[in-house]
Symmetry: C2
DNA sequence: TTGACGAACTCCTCTAGAGGAGTCATAAAG
DNA sequence: CTTTATGACTCCTCTAGAGGAGTTCGTCAA
């Protein structure tokens, strides 16, 4: 606390005490007085400084945590959250030229950036298409699909979970229904099967993660996720795959190029 | 509470009591037992039901609120958050054909969907370009830009704030530097000035809102925002505008079409 | 040198209160 | 019929404690 000098409370303010305290710490973070990874003064120190009860301090720290500004580590302290390196997903990442080099988009991209990509928890099942997926694929309600779910990691850190749905009538008996879908990934396989890919549509949402997502992606509290649903269309206008991915929003920037014509 | 039957606590569990309570209510919401807009049992009722202290209940409700599942209304109760109608932003929304109809993208789109669009808080200044904007526009560090900031509303509800930066050497003295930029918006003006727009690049991030953003967009707690930075390029490859927008993530789905070639 | 122990520190969970302030329906007063 | 009060209900803020559990580091014995 000697290092960090926080202001005093303003007793004339009608802003709640715990909010004032949160404001002070937030300002210190925004101004860089408290840098990434720095330790925030302990509860005891803050109680002492402000002369308030422990719960008031904890309320203030709770605010900052749910804003994604800090993380608490049991037994160690509260720290200013540090941001992981950001991955940029460009809109040409599924271009055929990449696919033809024999690597799946994720692998090629990650190695290009100097990281060690890996894929995890691959599970393949055949099941009835969920309603929204059936709609996107233009299938009947009870149509069956191959479901490929997996998790992507970079240097051992999980960054993204993905679930692909491919109509069973297309994928059944092909390598698409195998855990290792082969060089170039399932898009390469689809093209080999004669489905000439024309374009993708990506729908992007953002929200707070579910509990399973926090666990699977090892997310800090206060970090939202992107949910990206990609549908692949052939030159005939037929949808052949839907991929539903969830990724940590602070590890990604999504980048798209769109025509002005 | 008569209507809603929550499970009892599991005393053998090592999961904290307030987390168990949050889990119960979360499940009720996910299963639809508690629907959008429904009132969650009051603190007093939950205290009674679980036989725990008020702070324990408040902790549980706090968890749900920061997950964006509920909103508390002072004096009224805690309610399951209802989601506003979602606006889909398609990647062709800046197509020239729309521009030529004489309406700015936002206005045309909103009217098409049956809403009443309006624009608010328009402020135009000339200033030095922020560092990141200067980089995107390919300008020198001390270059001057026209800064157009405004807020978009639908049926009186704010949905998006936006700040555009246009190099002063382009915009100075033109209608771009006026509050009313005229039919078709500033992209139409740029084309009239001879800057033929070729494509846009949009970078999308997501994070928890700052306090000002929560106020400006009237965001509920636990709702992240999209930050979308769009750069407009001419056929010469010159960047002529950067637009930095912040929008409520639960009012928007961003949709992009990308080529597979 | 190594390893076990313990003290001091950290955040986490929970209790049991108090007063404040916003909302709403109802009853009383105009 | 309108307006004003009142009371019951809601969530909000804050206090003052208690014990628990994880981390760190120095001490001391082997």
């Amino acid at each position: 606390m000697a290092e960090l000098s926080l202001p005093e409370l303003d007793p004339t303010s009608d802003r709640a005490v715990f909010r004032q305290i949160a404001d002070h710490i937030r300002e210190a973070i925004e101004q860089g007085t408290l840098a990434e990874g720095d330790k925030v003064p302990s509860e005891a120190q803050l109680m002492q400084h402000y002369g308030v009860a422990r719960m008031t301090i904890r309320n203030a720290l709770q605010v900052l945590q749910s804003e994604g500004l800090t993380v608490a580590e049991h037994g160690r302290g509260v720290f200013v959250r540090s941001h992981p390196p950001v991955r940029r997903l460009a809109s040409d990442r599924f271009a055929r030229r990449h696919r033809q080099e024999g690597k799946a988009a994720f692998i090629a991209e990650t190695e290009g950036a100097g990281g060690k990509p890996s894929v995890d928890s691959i599970r393949i099942t055949e099941e009835e298409a969920p309603a929204d997926v059936a709609t996107l694929l233009g299938l009947a309600e009870d149509a069956r699909v191959i479901r490929r779910s997996r998790r992507y990691l970079i240097n051992g850190q999980p960054v993204e979970t993905a679930v692909s749905y491919i109509p069973a009538e297309i994928a059944m008996g092909t390598r698409i229904a195998e855990p290792d879908s082969g060089p170039g990934g399932i898009y390469a396989r689809l093209e080999e099967l004669g489905y000439r890919l024309d374009h993708f549509v990506e729908d992007i949402r953002s929200r707070m993660p579910l509990r399973e997502e926090m666990r699977a992606l090892r997310l800090a509290p206060g970090v939202p996720v992107f949910r990206l649903v990609r549908t692949a269309y052939t030159t005939d206008g037929k949808a052949v795959e839907v991929c539903d991915t969830v990724m940590s929003s602070d590890a990604y920037v999504l980048s798209y190029e769109l025509p002005a014509r």
